[in-house]
Amino acid sequence: MFEKHAFKGGVHPQENKLTSKEAIKDLVGFASVRIPMNMHVGAPCKPLVKAGEMVKIGQRIGEPSGIAVPVHATVSGKVKSVKKELMPSGDMVDIVEIINDLSDTWDENLKAPEITDKESFIKAVLDSGMIGLGGAGFPTHVKMRPPKDKYPNLVIVNGMECEPYITSDERQMLEMPNELVEGLTMVLKYMEIGKAIIGIEANKPEAAKAVSEAIAASSIKDYVEVKVMPVRYPQGAEKTFIQAVTGRVIPAGGLPHDVNVMVLNVGTVINLNNYFKNGKPLTHKVITLSGDAVKNPGNYRVPVGASIEEIVEKSGGLKGEARKALMGGPMMGVALPSLNTPLLKNNNAILIFDKLAKPTEELPCINCGRCVRACPMGLMPTDLDNASRKNDFDRMDSYAIMNCVECGSCTYVCPSKRQLVQNIRLGKAEYRQGLEAIKRAKEAKEAKN
């Protein structure tokens, strides 16, 4: 029944999927939303609206240029302000704040896109404002335009959801399997790809069953395979996911199209289908709200840009004290300094904790090798940690620091509680600067000659 473990290493933290039985509920009536102009990887959008203007749901309010996707209004009402704010990522970003008029008016110009060929399909994907909803936030249409010499021959749909606590993809697969299949049918048809695999971890048997049944009843049943994989973190991370379901290994510095696959998250496919059918762009997002400080943990559909504080309030509020708030799962999520932070397109969970292990004191490395065995990328995290702490470019280079996917498995298993991935992350930043310095030195030399 199970596939063989095709990627090495990994860890198995407590799953804590507390909300897997909670049906998706709509949270409505948000007082306002604050919509950042770059929720995707790439260039920020240019705001199309000014303070005082009236907008409707689905109306385009951010115009993309370069590698970017449009941003849409997620509530109807009046634009209060357009100004720069500091995001948890550390960037200053243009944010459009809209005061909700609570009329819930959709933009009447929205209609299902006319899709006739590959080009019009990719344009529809761009217009939907879709980005990788698994968490990375890479514009989806860009994946559909690989370089000329790459020919993806396999679509793999990521329903692993390997992070503890998060159940938003699980619920979407369970509640909307037909939308997933319809969306996938469109992708296969217009991307001219003849095979797809949907990968789901074994701790979601009902979702896997629902998806399998929907596939079996569809026109693409001969082209799609559902693979149920044993539970292991970070199986949902793109590189390990590809390796786990296909056995293909992306070369260092490469992208999925280098091994001829296109990776889409289940949420991405379901939301794309909503645009193909109804013309509704990505304005709302299903998230898991969980953690021991949340009164009603559950899966909620909320407008993008809603403040986390208000989402929590609408769900029933907190119990106990909020001491740590995470955007994303406990393994890779970002700890928020404040709950007054807008929800982004690619967020799939908000976790708020009263009791969560405090950052403990680092003890010396005892060379136990647990991090080496846990690393899904075959790296030796202690050596990278050491090289990073010393900012030793040559060792970072020879130990392949850029192969690190920052999954945090090494830090998770470390008995000495060392901040391995934190230092490696800093090391990667130093390494990038080092590369820049080499490039500049080279250019200076060439200019001299």
Binding site: Q243, A400, V413, V421
Partner: protein
């Protein structure tokens, strides 16, 4: 509302350095019980002196080096137990104190404390004591009923040659069963294969060690025994091989981390032990082999680095 901001991951495995050391201490307990049965109360006194000295020296080195006092990790207790297990029960009371000073100050403290030592502190201390106080370190005593045949009764506890010495002198050695149960002379912790294997099994089940080093080490000695016409079963059970293979060669700090590295390390320990035992004049195969391989461990690590998934893309210079 005060939110804690920290770097991911936000959850941690419950395993700590302390819990690992505690598991090693638990795994060493069966051998301590056998020691008490074989060598009487004196063995417990030697163990207590060694452990307490190690704790005191660890504390003092931390103070002098202005390092946070690291007694909480329990590693000093592990070193103390292992050092005591490598001493005959008959050594004078001051000798473990010197051994503990060598282990904790010279080998561990001066190289930066836990994780910094280049060799196993207990093994190195044992070798220092052996070379400095050869007579006391080779005067093995045991309860009269477990002594070698022909030993004259002088007391409940008598001096008796170890199986390895009996073998060397072509005298009758104890039966496999007696050796397995530990009913013969030897150092405090090495005598019973049964007790050591039980401890080793516990460590494997608890995920503290894996089998690569012990199996390759013991296996190499056995194979070398077969090749050179020595009794492999006898040599696996005799001397400190099982104590060394299960508890000393697997010391994280001084052994390689990769499977390939562990196999090379284990085979290396086995070859050196076999060479010394089968061709040398000394019986100190286990101690010296582990010390030598400890020193080679950093090189073995470099030879056996893991291969990054997807290969390495080096910077162009």
């Amino acid at each position: 509302m005060n939110l804690t901001v920290s770097s991911s991951p936000h959850i941690r495995d419950s395993r700590t350095t302390r819990s690992i050391m505690l598991d090693v201490i638990i795994a060493l307990m069966p051998a301590l019980i056998v020691a008490f049965m074989n060598f009487g109360t004196r063995s417990l006194i030697i163990v207590a002196i060694t452990v307490i000295s190690c704790i005191v020296f660890e504390y003092l080195t931390c103070l002098v080096a202005k390092r946070p006092v690291s007694l909480g990790d329990l590693s000093a207790i592990v070193t103390g137990l292992l050092l005591a297990y490598n001493l005959p029960a008959s050594v004078p009371y001051w000798m473990p104190v010197i051994g503990a000073a060598v282990a904790m100050i010279l080998v561990k403290g001066m190289f930066g404390g836990l994780g910094g030592n280049f060799a196993n502190p207990a093994i190195t201390a044992r070798i220092v004591l052996l070379l400095s106080f050869g007579k006391a370190m080779t005067d093995f005593t045991v309860k009269f009923m477990y002594s070698a045949p022909g030993t004259i009764y002088t007391n409940d506890i008598v001096s008796s040659p170890t199986p390895l010495l009996l073998m060397r002198n072509h005298e009758m050695v104890p039966s496999y069963l007696k050796m397995f149960l530990g009913q013969h002379a030897g150092t405090i912790g090495e005598v019973s294969g049964a007790a050591l294997l039980l401890g080793g099994l516990y460590l494997v089940v608890r995920g503290v060690i894996d089998l690569w080093i012990p199996v390759t080490y013991v296996g190499t000695v056995a194979v070398m025994g077969l090749i050179t016409g020595n009794d492999p079963v006898f040599h696996v059970l005799a001397g400190g091989l099982l104590l060394g293979a299960i508890f000393m060669a697997t010391d994280y700090v001084t052994s390689p981390v990769t499977t390939k590295g562990k196999i090379i390390f284990g085979i290396g320990c086995g070859l050196i032990t076999a060479m010394i035992r089968f061709f040398g004049s000394s019986q100190e195969g286990v101690s010296f082999s582990i010390l030598v391989m400890n020193i080679l461990a950093p090189h073995i690590k470099e030879w056996t680095r893991t291969i990054p998934v997807g290969g390495i893309r080096h910077a162009e210079k």
